[in-house]
């Protein structure tokens, strides 16, 4: 009966048919997203205002709990430091790639993307194998006599930041590269020709022009950094508890689901707010180099 309500297909103009196909193709992903993403997300938001009782108590507790404050502080300083370091190295890499000979560019980009494709868990374990007390780096340094006692590289905040920076550098490189490619390569030589020092030409001409890329890369990298879970858990020695891990603790161990989901929701809102800011600065399509 419902089938009879559908208009006969051949009567449709060509354009509408194309649109219909596009919508039909989009339907499955939309349904999947609704069922597996938006519905659970709504439930998370609901739990944050209904458990243990109805109201905004869980959100109030975020501001009054000293444990949450401690965890948020740890998260913020680790995220700020790792984002800044990622941006620094990302900027150098992007600059080098954009200014390299064309035949080199694709190889350099491939090197960046290769690390981008390796799972975060494997990278984290690789760092452990390399940097632990009896790891390759410490053993080598001891054999060649540079150090007597092994250096503690990991299972401390340094380890967490190292692991995070390694993960986030590609996220800094890609938007920066997309931006730097739009900068006219004749500007810097022109500035030099007008008497600017090499550093002056970079500082007063190239850097300001690359600022939009730098801002979008920094927001993107920072958004990634606040959600880190595995890296701090494995490289932090149990002492660098960040928000994601604290949420997992509330959900799995203390069963304070209201508190955990309130924190998760707050993080989500923060990320959305940053995305809105980001969207005002740069078009998302251009961020990863789409024309």
């Amino acid at each position: 009966m419902s089938g009879a309500a559908l208009p006969a297909a051949p009567a449709l103009p060509r354009m509408d048919r194309t649109q219909l196909i596009v919508w039909a193709m989009a339907l499955l992903p939309i349904v999947v997203l609704c069922v597996f993403y938006f519905y659970p997300l709504m439930r998370v938001l609901t739990i944050s205002v209904t458990e243990p009782e109805f109201g905004l108590g869980n959100y109030r507790d975020i501001f009054t709990s000293s444990a949450v404050r401690r965890v948020v502080q740890t998260t913020l300083w680790i995220c700020v430091v790792s984002s800044v370091v990622s941006l620094f190295f990302g900027y150098l890499l992007a600059y080098a790639i954009v200014h390299a000979a064309p035949s080199w560019q694709s190889w350099m980009l491939l090197a960046v993307l290769l690390s981008f494709w390796v799972s975060v868990l494997i990278r984290t374990f690789s760092w452990i194998a390399l940097l632990q007390t009896r790891g390759l780096v410490n053993e080598t340094l001891q054999v060649i006599g540079l150090i007597d006692e092994p250096i503690r590289f990991i299972r401390n905040p340094f380890g967490v930041i190292l692991g995070m920076v390694h993960y986030m550098i590609p996220y800094a490189v890609l938007p920066l590269m997309a931006n730097m490619r739009t900068i006219d390569t004749r500007y810097v030589p022109a500035a030099r020709g007008l008497g600017a020092s090499p550093f002056g030409a970079f500082w007063r001409v190239f850097l300001p022009l690359s600022l939009p890329g730098l801002i979008s890369a920094s927001i993107l990298v920072f958004i990634f950094s606040i959600g880190f879970y595995i890296t701090p858990a494995l490289l932090g020695g149990g002492r660098s508890t960040m928000v994601a891990e604290y949420i997992a603790l509330q959900v799995n161990e203390t069963l304070a689901w209201g508190q955990g989901t309130a924190l998760a929701s707050s993080m989500l809102i923060l990320v959305f707010a940053m995305l809105v800011v980001l969207g005002r600065i740069v078009k998302f399509r251009t961020m990863f180099g789409a024309a």
Binding site: M1, S2, G3, V35, F36, S65, S66, A67, R70, V71, T74, Q132, T133, R134, R155, A233, G237, G238, R239, S240, T241, Y246, L249, V251, N252, E253, T254, L255, A256, W257
Partner: protein
């Protein structure tokens, strides 16, 4: 009309699948897992009684060696005695969060889980567990304190001091005061990133008499832990605590006797541990509310009370037999390793289940704050 055809088509397929599953082509657990992945509640399919009430019993523990060991010690003897049932040992890790989400969503696929008496109180009071059926499970095969309303003793384990004998030759710690003594016994320590058995250790190191540990003075314990936190790695999983010793990242640690005994065996006792001032825990079987196997699970739990089976588990994993009768059956050479042997039990303090059930959640958050 078309809708009706579609519905009847789905019904036919489900009916066929139901017949297939009855014919053991797909076992119930796989089927339920598939449904879980699809986000479909099992109830949707109105399963036939044969499927729903289950000839299968799922025992869930914390994975690794425990899966094969519990299969050998418990599942196989039970299946031999009762060929109508199949026991699956699964190592997914029955965390409180996993149990709560499973029970509250009505998609329970586990029957019995490997936890402890304090957790049984905490979860039982939140209506997430079935009460232990003592008409089937034998109360007299455990000590009175190990026969709880929602959990019955499964094995005994301890938080013990473990140390590297290469770092400290011809020496043995006498208690937690030595553990905290960084001046005389330098080197990195490891504590658990969880309060169980850690706060007690800190208090004993601070000079509190073992008899006066409970109720725990949390402020004092956290202050004592803060003293050594700069020199401490906090382990998350039992296997991580073992790895820290294997890699010689640490020289002393507060870890489970079960994990310590495996590292000790691997290293030819280069890594040693002692029960001096250990904290003893009663592991417990708990049953998920609305478990699929129903009361058959208590037959399994009753069979796991067999002292011989518990000795097998002890030999494989180091989990001390909880049935007092089993102590005599432990081979002479292994008796020093048994946390429940009369000599070892006397050196340790029993964990206070009631204190943990009441305070665990709040104090855990404070602990995380204190070590950060």
């Amino acid at each position: 009309m078309r809708n009706r055809t579609v519905t009847s088509d789905v019904e036919t397929r489900v009916e066929r699948f139901r017949q297939m599953t009855d014919g053991q082509l797909v076992n119930r657990r796989t089927f339920l897992n598939v449904l879980g992945v699809l986000g479909v509640s099992a109830g949707v399919f109105r399963m036939t009684p044969a499927l729903a009430q289950g000839r299968e019993i799922v025992l869930v523990n914390w994975g690794g060696d425990a899966v094969t060991a519990m299969t050998e010690a418990f599942a196989e003897p039970f299946m031999q005695a009762d060929p109508d049932h199949t026991v699956y040992v699964e190592g997914a890790g029955p965390s409180s969060g996993a149990i709560k989400s499973m029970v509250e969503s009505g998609a329970v696929t586990w029957d019995v889980a490997d936890r402890n008496i304090p957790a049984s109180l905490e979860l039982g009071r939140q209506c997430l567990l079935e009460e232990i059926d003592y008409t089937i499970v034998d109360r007299s095969k455990v000590r009175p304190e190990h026969a709880g309303q929602w959990g019955v003793g499964s094995y005994i384990f301890s938080n013990v001091i473990c140390w590297d004998t290469k770092a400290f030759p011809d020496w043995e710690p006498t208690g937690w005061a030595d553990f905290w003594n960084l001046a005389d016994y330098p080197g990195t320590r490891t504590l658990r990133r969880h309060i169980d058995g850690q706060l007690e250790a800190a208090l004993m190191a601070d000079g509190v008499a073992p008899a006066d540990i409970y109720p725990i003075d949390v402020d004092r314990a956290l202050a004592k832990i803060a003293e050594i936190k700069e020199n401490t790695i906090f382990w998350g999983s039992g296997s991580e605590s073992q790895q820290l010793f294997r890699d010689r990242e640490v020289v002393m640690g507060n870890m489970f006797n079960t994990r310590a005994s495996v590292v000790r065996r691997e290293s030819d006792a280069e890594i040693e541990f002692t029960y001096a001032q250990g904290i003893v825990w009663p592991g417990a079987w708990i049953v998920m509310k609305g478990n699929p196997a129903g009361s058959a699970v208590f037959d399994l739990i009753a069979s796991m009370q067999d002292p011989a089976a518990q000795v097998v588990l002890f030999e494989l994993l180091g989990n001390g037999p909880v049935n007092p009768e089993a102590a005599a059956m432990v081979p002479e050479a292994l008796k020093p390793l048994d946390p429940g042997s009369p000599e070892n039990y006397a050196k340790q303090i029993p964990a206070d289940a009631e204190w943990y059930a009441e305070n665990s959640a709040e104090v855990l958050n404070r602990y995380i704050e204190a070590i950060s």
